[in-house]
């Protein structure tokens, strides 16, 4: 009797969070619906929340959704890959060579504060309105995130491990980097990469709003003809794809860092 009582209580405790979460979403949709019914926003700019599924079906049937997602993903993957690799490489170099550190620090201080979107002008001038242009803009933001995370991660590796490496025949540069620096800095490097995975989406959509084909451009086009339901469809698609990519990355991250307590 009392054990089944406590089991029920434990079950209720575990269900509390998802249930309250659903209630929170429902409350938001209700508020939205009220805003729609009482036209709190300028007329015609706020879609009916219950029209969103129909808008989704419509975007799908028109064959707008998938090509836009595909195009965005191309920018995303290229921009993310290039920015991550370069940021990681330069960050590693900056933290492991004092010569390179001295050589580049001033340049980095000048370039760092320039927002990635400021590069759109050059992206369009150099690459025109193309996949490469969008990838270029994305890679800039991702570069800085990875550059700083890698440099800090490497700088924070406990120097006593380097003495260990030397004592056990891992004193050469390559062996030191592979056996100490990279695994030791991996937590910082990977959390930087994960931030980059999110940051890339933010820049991506903004870059596409300026005209490169993809979800951002579709949103702009839909808004131009007053199809705000479609805008919401793309917003939700962005949210979904971000969640998937972040979830996949966190799997990789946990796998690589499973040595941590």
């Amino acid at each position: 009797m009392s054990t089944s009582d406590s089991r029920q209580r434990r079950l209720a405790g575990r269900l509390r969070r998802p249930l309250l979460g659903l209630v929170g979403v429902a409350a938001f949709i209700l508020l939205w619906k009220l805003a729609y019914m009482f036209t709190w926003a300028p007329r015609g700019t706020l879609p009916d929340p219950f029209s969103i599924p129909a808008a989704l079906v419509n975007e799908w049937r028109n064959n707008h959704l998938l090509p836009a997602v595909g195009s965005s993903l191309i920018h995303y993957v290229w921009g993310l890959a290039v920015g991550t690799l370069l940021g990681f490489g330069v960050g590693l170099l900056a933290a492991s060579s004092s010569w390179f550190d001295d050589f580049h620090y001033m340049l980095a201080r000048v370039l760092r504060p320039i927002p990635p979107l400021a590069w759109v002008v050059f992206a369009i001038a150099w690459f025109h309105v193309s996949h490469a242009g969008a990838a270029f803009v994305i890679s800039i933001g991702v570069f800085w995130v990875n550059y700083f995370a890698t440099a800090a991660g490497v700088a924070n590796v406990d120097p006593r491990y380097y003495e260990l490496a030397q004592a056990f025949g891992h004193g050469s540069f390559i062996k030191r980097v592979t056996s100490i620096t990279l695994p030791g800095a991996a937590p910082g490097i990977l959390s930087g990469m994960r931030t980059g995975v999110g940051q890339a989406w933010m820049t991506l959509i903004a870059a596409e709003l300026l005209g490169v084909p993809g979800m951002g451009q579709q949103m702009n086009a839909a808004a131009g003809v007053g199809a705000y339901g479609a805008v919401v469809v793309y917003m939700l698609a962005i949210s979904l794809i971000y969640s998937i990519s972040d979830g996949l990355f966190s799997l990789v991250q946990n796998r690589l860092l499973r040595w941590r307590p």
């Binding site: 006593r160 260990l164 004592a167 056990f168 025949g169 100490i180 695994p183 040595w259 307590p261």
Partner: protein, 244 residues
């Protein structure tokens, strides 16, 4: 002393920027298979001397010479650190094997070496653990195993047991003696604990002064296993303590 494994002769070492060297003109010979304990006050330079012998820092002047070149599959020295310094991203097995890459062993030989060393240190059951999942005493044994795996001619131990509780320490000391008798390597063992030095070593050296010298060097004429309550033992520790 013609059978010395390592001769430290006229060794001077100072850290860059320091006003005076840590030690100057220091001499120390260690025979093949000999267990030498090094005691001395904090900051006198014991760890620095081990770092010199291990070749981790270059001597300012003087010589550190090993008799004949080391045989294949072994290293001249291996280090056991007080803070264990296990690599947290390697499982126990991989930590033990850390010094074996570059030793020209086949993969089979490497695995056999690791297995054997884990058996010697009674850590066979823990090979697949992550370092965070072993106790302090077990971690110290893994640190010892990692050093033993390279079958060093001279094992350098820097206060290896000072961070574990008294009972575990005695257990580890007995285990070390057993391993030393089995493998027959020489040991240079730094400790603050004179009793530990007298319990383990063939010879106890006292380091003192600034720059430091070896001011006392005495052979321990007692057989293993030694009795800490024995009169000879007590007199010995007393004599060494007077030199500190």
């Amino acid at each position: 002393m013609s059978d010395a494994l390592v001769r430290v002769a006229d060794l001077t070492f100072g850290y860059p920027g320091a006003k005076q060297p840590v030690f100057r003109g220091l001499d120390l010979n260690i025979a093949e298979g000999e267990f030498v304990a090094l005691v001395g006050g904090s900051g006198v330079g014991k760890s620095t001397l081990l770092r010199n012998v291990a070749g981790l820092v270059p001597a300012t002047s003087g010589r550190i010479q090993f008799a004949r070149p080391c045989s294949a599959g072994r290293r001249d020295t291996a280090f056991v650190f007080q803070d264990t310094r296990l690599l947290p991203w390697r499982r126990v097995r991989a930590n033990v094997g850390y010094g074996l890459t570059g030793l020209k062993l086949s993969a089979d030989e490497r695995h056999a070496r690791i297995d054997e060393t884990l058996r010697l240190t009674a850590m066979t059951d823990y090979g697949d653990r992550w370092p965070h999942a072993v106790s302090g005493g077990q971690a110290q044994r893994v640190g010892l195993a990692r050093a033993l795996a390279v079958r060093p001619r001279l094992l350098l131990m820097d206060e290896p047991f000072s961070a574990v509780d008294a009972l575990t320490r005695q257990h580890l000391q007995d285990q070390l003696i057993e391993i030393w008798q089995r493998l027959g390597m020489a040991v240079l063992f730094v400790t603050h604990d004179i009793e530990e030095a007298a319990y383990l070593a063939d010879r106890v050296c006292v380091m003192r002064g600034s720059p430091a010298e070896i001011v006392h060097d005495e052979t321990v004429a007692m057989r293993h296993p030694r009795n800490r309550n024995d009169n000879d033992f007590r007199r010995f520790t007393q004599r060494v303590a007077n030199q500190l």
